[in-house]
């Protein structure tokens, strides 16, 4: 579904990603793990065309997307849930969700909106309870659910999540991860970028390890969980040896 090939990207003269290649197959959950500053967010911004890659190729459903505008990637069905939620605080939950369906309105598929709205309410019942509440007054976890719900309103084929567990309580993280799994089971493809490696590898099918802008490991989630380097660097195992 999504193919990234030999992409280099960054900010002006600062090159952040070096020769990054990855793919996400239809119906897969793919996790990208890496430390702070490894280039995870830059990667998602590059795929969603917020930043244009300096070279390389990105294809979504075999359509090259490196030359198109960011909002067009959204209408192709590749939607980003940004880091830190970024919900529209002064608007209600329902208004936030309806804004996510903007591309459906543009496509003239207004009738789908109610259907999508009820799907989102089904996935996150708390959003239904708080539909009239201002988004800014929601808890962190609820805002994250709202951000994912808003992205789902566009009926995406592939949803990209940037650090969905950031700053959330463990129980809320668990709830969100369960929702992500449910989403996959309903056919949505998911690319998820996380620092919480254990959480993401627990739900992902495959994963990539990004280190200083390059991918240094890839494999099934199980392979990565078994990899001793990943265990030491990202899963906090093997402390006794490090302390020796």
């Amino acid at each position: 579904m999504l193919k990234v090939r030999s992409v280099e990207s960054g900010y002006g003269k600062l090159k952040v990603l070096t020769n990054v290649s990855l793919h996400v197959g239809k119906g897969e959950i793919v996790g990208i793990i890496g430390a702070n500053g490894a280039g995870k967010t830059t990667l998602l911004h590059t795929i969603s065309q917020v930043i244009k890659p300096q070279c390389g190729e990105i294809r979504f459903n075999d359509i090259p997307i490196t030359t198109i505008a960011p909002h067009k990637t959204n209408s192709l069905g590749c939607v980003l849930v940004p880091e830190g939620r970024q919900v529209f605080a002064p608007m209600t939950v329902a208004e936030n969700l309806l804004l996510g369906a903007y591309s459906l309105y543009k496509k003239g598929k207004k009738e789908c909106v109610t259907e999508e709205l009820s799907k989102v309410y089904g996935l996150f019942p708390v959003l239904k309870q708080r539909h009239a509440q201002l988004a800014g007054t929601l808890s962190g976890g609820e805002q994250q659910m709202l951000a994912i719900g808003r992205a789902l309103m566009a009926k995406p084929l592939c949803i990209m999540l940037d650090e969905p567990s950031m700053g959330l309580a463990p129980l809320v993280v668990k709830e969100i991860l369960t929702a992500i799994r449910t989403l996959r089971d309903t056919g949505t493809t998911i690319l998820i970028v996380e620092q919480n490696s254990k959480a993401v590898l627990g739900i992902a099918d495959r994963g990539y390890v990004l280190e200083t802008g390059s991918i240094v490991l890839e494999g099934t989630a199980q392979d990565l969980l078994n990899n001793t380097e990943v265990q030491r660097a990202y899963l906090g195992k093997d402390y006794t040896r490090i302390n020796e």
């Binding site: 020769n19 290649s21 793919h23 390389g56 390059s214 991918i215 490991l217 890839e218 990899n227 001793t228």
Partner: protein
């Protein structure tokens, strides 16, 4: 559908995406973790971020057997020893052995790949698999064991049974349905079977997976006819992984390379230029998933070619031809080019002669002379009849003359002496006295 079937029939664009991802990842790791590759890449002024497509692999430096010997024992490892869970080594008959390491994931992939290949040969959890390879530093025994167990077959590690009669007792009583061994072992078993009058119907054998040495079509026919089974060629080498690199499918038209784990190329062994599909040269492999012992463009020294076009079986993995010999042992003799393995094949085809030989090349009165030392099989019925032995000698000499256009002196040796002098090596030992 299992994950395996999905990979085996992957479309070419998907496969090339997977290969480039894994190649780039491997390069990032070897550049950081293996000093040999850091130096080699820096010396050739190759920046790894310029490897953007699979065709760019040609720009990367080659790795030779000599490089691996120099790194003895652990210098080529990309992981610290505490992350290495298994160590194997290649035989060191011509120098220091090459030591290879496996991480936990490497072992899991290895078992997966061997299981995949065995399933191509039709092995299932209902089979009783008898393994004739040595269990030790050599990768054959344990490699096939793990793969066959992964399928769920009942595996008999029968490598320490040296007496033929014991092996046949196991085959009969344990109801062995698949035999995994070297061609020499299979051939010796087949000849024992004929000489002792064991009928294939007394056995339960259905198939054989034969590997670790190159073997000819005539050897295939002889073993298949004697056992009345179907044989599958399997290729691998310890440096790359062991068994599990490539194998024949049911179509028997070349060996499918497990391309989701290895990238295969063919190069001209003299100019080192990459060759096109169909051209014969030296097989070169790059491992793209190995964690502990990754190799970039490793020169195998094995001669073969890439077979163009898809296979009828529907698998999309590229096929290589069967191994036709070694690139480093070509003998130029009396104006003719001879590969020792071709000579060995001629020896194989001569009934009554054990499937091993020693080749001595010398200069007599300024001309090249070749002597082939062979042994009569210990259970050969006419072993005491000088006339018949003389005929064997003339026949073998004639076959060599007909096939290679060279006159060879044939000498008989005791079978045990020959085995000892060859230090157990199945491949012919060549002693070239011309330049000494």
């Amino acid at each position: 559908m299992t994950v395996h079937q999905l990979s085996e029939t992957m479309s070419k664009p998907d496969l090339s995406q997977l290969q480039i991802e894994r190649l780039q990842t491997t390069l990032n790791r070897v550049y950081r973790n293996v000093s040999f590759y850091k130096h080699a890449l820096d010396e050739h002024k190759i920046q790894i971020d310029t490897i953007r497509n699979l065709a760019d692999i040609r720009n990367l430096p080659l790795t030779s057997k000599e490089d691996l010997r120099k790194s003895y024992p652990y210098d080529m490892f990309a992981l610290p020893l505490r992350d290495v869970v298994r160590i194997h080594a290649s035989s060191g008959t011509t120098g220091k052995p090459i030591v290879v390491g496996y991480s936990r994931n490497d072992l899991a992939h290895w078992a997966d790949l061997v299981a995949r290949e065995l399933s191509w040969a039709g092995i299932t959890d209902r089979d009783v698999v008898q393994i004739g390879f040595a269990y030790g530093l050599f990768t054959g025994g344990l490699g096939y064991q793990d793969g066959a167990e992964k399928i769920g077959a009942s595996v008999i590690p029968a490598s320490n049974q040296t007496a033929m009669s014991d092996l046949f007792t196991i085959m009969k009583d344990f109801k062995t349905s698949a035999l995994i061994c070297s061609p020499t072992t299979a051939l010796t078993l087949a000849r024992y079977m004929r000489s002792t009058g064991i009928h294939p119907e007394q056995l339960h054998m259905k198939r054989g997976i034969i590997g670790s040495e190159p073997w000819s079509e005539s050897v295939r026919t002889e073993i298949e006819e004697t056992f009345q089974i179907e044989l599958f060629d399997s290729y691998g080498l310890s440096e790359i992984m062991g068994p599990g690199v490539s194998a024949e499918c049911e179509c028997h038209c070349g060996l499918h390379v497990n391309e989701d784990h290895f990238i295969v190329e063919v190069i001209d062994p003299k100019t080192l230029e990459s060759l096109d599909e169909g051209d014969e040269g030296e097989l070169v492999f790059t491992t793209i998933t190995k964690e502990a012992f990754p190799l970039i463009r490793y020169r195998t020294g094995d001669r073969g070619s890439i077979i163009p076009g898809p296979c009828k079986c529907g698998r999309t993995f590229v096929r290589t031809s069967r191994i036709t010999g070694r690139t480093d042992d070509l003998i130029m003799l009396q104006g003719a080019k001879v590969f020792p393995l071709q000579l060995l094949n001629t020896v194989h085809e001569t009934k009554g002669i054990a499937p091993q030989c020693q080749i001595i090349i010398s200069k007599t009165d300024g001309a090249d002379a070749i002597e082939i030392r062979v042994a009569i099989e210990s259970n050969y019925e006419h072993i005491d009849e000088i006339k018949i032995l003389e005929k064997l000698r003339t026949d073998l000499g004639k076959s060599v003359k007909d096939r290679f256009g060279i006159g060879a002196k044939i000498t008989f040796m005791e079978e045990t002496t020959l085995i000892n002098e060859n230090r157990g090596k199945k491949q012919p030992v060549v002693i070239d006295k011309r330049y000494s």
